[in-house]
């Protein structure tokens, strides 16, 4: 069993008072809080081992390089990648997708080639493809979302043709909480022989993820949504792809030799990590992986499922409240609207009760449009959340209703 009291003690920020109320942090889809174990490792790097990596031959640099590369190994194990060479450090999920689009997309996709994304994608999995469309004339095909917030898989199969050259879909929706049938999508991509990118930003802290089992070509995620620091993320890529893909950023650390006549690039993953990386961030990510791995996945999933079910139960009782996203398989998030009360007004009022939720379009404006709404309020959960915090939210929402009655 998870010891929630002990887990909460790892996150001293949970003790904070907000507007003289106990904080209920239900905005984990935006970013999770960071445990002492992560903050401590980052601090240790700066206080005791601060140095650049991969080039110094002095003792400190060796220590920093070791810690940095140890994180690569930890990430490799977390997602069961073939080797550490498949793990590219980026600045986050957005950077990972942009890297794939700017490197693979620019060099391999041509006018008329079709890229399949979905209507529930975050702007970070829409806009980079639109930029490539501007440049190369690719065609973006969008899998619609059904009323319950699940992917319309029938349309997915109908959209596939010989023109399909790439599939890029999120694992878990940041708005709806829907867990998409990623194995099925990856299987289809492999059957077609086209690359598939899995945006695992909202999955990575909530369920075990296995890139070899999924057999995906690429996977991206961010450290800060899995109890790690902001400004660092991961791109996993299959070796045969990473090897052929051209680098996007040129500079130090991504080369083997440089002369004015000819520069020889380093191998993957290093050729994608030009310049001094976010060393402390990567070390913090390694600590976050350790933290996640200290729990049993089954218990984490069971705990979070229980919280989501409880949130559904409590929120559904509030008259006028409508939950957006009721797919059978859900993780992480519960989005809702309250008749004509604008979500920003909901957000401000519950904030005064100490409850932190996200309100707005959640960087998914096309999804909002497909539901005919402009915004939602969203409660999103992590391992340290409690039913009492859900109660605190429900009580605050009753206050919203009183005010707008």
């Amino acid at each position: 069993m998870l010891d929630i009291e002990k887990i909460r003690a790892d996150f001293p920020i949970l003790e904070r008072q907000v507007h003289k109320k106990t904080l209920a942090y239900l905005d984990n889809g935006a970013t999770t809080l960071k445990p002492n174990q992560v903050v401590g490792e980052i601090e240790k790097h700066y206080k005791e081992e601060c140095s650049n990596i991969h080039r110094g031959i002095h003792w400190l640099s060796e220590r920093a390089t070791e810690a940095y590369e140890a994180s690569r190994e930890k990430v490799q194990k977390l997602i069961n990648a073939e080797s550490t060479d498949n793990i590219v450090f980026t600045s986050g999920t957005t950077a990972g997708i942009n890297l794939v689009v700017q490197s693979y997309g620019r060099s391999e996709l041509n006018a008329g080639d079709e890229v399949i994304i979905s209507a529930m994608e975050h702007h970070s999995n829409i806009v980079p493809w639109q930029m490539l469309r501007e440049e190369k004339g690719i065609v973006i095909k969008v899998v619609p979302v059904l009323e319950d917030g699940s992917l319309d898989m029938e349309s997915f199969y109908n959209l596939i043709s010989e023109k399909t050259k790439f599939i890029s879909i999120m694992y878990v929706s940041n708005v709806l909480g829907t867990i998409n049938p990623m194995q099925e999508i990856c299987d289809k991509a492999n059957e077609l022989g086209v690359p598939v990118l899995v945006d695992a930003a909202q999955a990575i802290a909530h369920m075990p993820v296995d890139v070899q089992k999924l057999n995906c070509t690429f996977m991206v995620f961010s450290a800060h949504k899995m109890y790690g620091p902001t400004g660092v993320g991961v791109l996993y890529g299959k070796a045969e792809y990473l090897e052929k893909m051209p680098p996007v950023n040129g500079g130090g650390d991504m080369i083997l030799s440089v002369s004015f006549d000819k520069t020889v690039y380093n191998v993957a993953p290093y050729k994608f990590e030009a310049g001094t990386p976010n060393i402390a961030g990567v070390i913090g990510l390694g600590a976050a992986v350790d933290y996640l791995q200290s729990f049993n996945w089954q218990e984490v999933e069971a705990r979070e499922e229980e919280l989501i079910a409880y949130a559904h139960e409590k929120l559904e009782k509030i008259p006028g409240l409508k939950i957006i996203g009721t797919a059978k398989n859900k993780s992480g998030a519960v989005s809702f609207t309250m008749k004509d009360i604008h979500p920003h007004d909901i957000g401000t009022i519950v904030d005064r009760s100490g409850v932190a939720i996200r309100t707005g379009h959640h960087c998914a404006q096309p999804l909002m449009e497909s539901f005919g709404i402009v915004a939602t309020a969203r409660a999103s959960f992590a391992i340290y959340n409690t039913k009492e915090e859900v109660d605190q939210l429900a009580k605050a929402l009753e206050k919203v209703q009183e005010i707008f009655a």
């Binding site: 009360i341 604008h342 979500p343 920003h344 007004d345 401000t348 009022i349 005064r352 009760s353 707005g360 379009h361 402009v374 915004a375 206050k399 005010i403 707008f404």
Partner: protein, 143 residues
């Protein structure tokens, strides 16, 4: 819970906005947007002899943005342009946390600077009014 932002005045104007609608062929017009929130306010004014003869708005968004627009129209109608600009200045100062002594229903926003993430909702209509009057840039954004 005493919530200084959602007072009766604000809730009333949100529910039942005053001077709501388009003025066809008006002398001044501008549109304002909060791209992050999706708030929208369009201001229509008929200015004659340096007087705000008529002012109306249309829009959609949160209670704060829509109530602020409604209250603004009631405050500005019939005012001279000098008086209207003085009100604009006062509201902007109030929104930035400077102590002011607003008269009438505008006082409902006296505490708005205590809600930093909502200031842009409250000032949207006033900035749109200012843009309409100056006719420099007819689409403004508070971001």
């Amino acid at each position: 819970m005493k919530n200084q932002l959602y007072q009766q005045t604000v809730l009333k104007h949100n529910r039942d906005p005053r001077n709501y609608g388009v003025i066809e062929d008006c002398s001044h017009h501008a549109e304002g947007f909060n791209p992050l929130c999706g708030d929208e306010v369009k201001v229509y004014m008929q200015v004659e002899d340096d007087l705000v003869k008529a002012i109306q708005f249309t829009g959609k968004g949160c209670a704060v943005s829509q109530a602020s627009a409604s209250i603004m129209t009631t405050a500005l109608i019939g005012k001279s342009l000098d008086e209207a600009m003085a009100q604009f200045d006062e509201f902007m100062k109030m929104a930035s946390g400077e102590k002011q002594d607003p008269q009438g229903e505008i006082a409902a926003f006296a505490g708005i600077s205590q809600f930093p993430s909502r200031v842009k909702c409250a000032v949207l209509s006033w900035q749109t009014f200012n843009a309409a009057l100056k006719a420099v840039d007819n689409t403004i954004s508070t971001e």
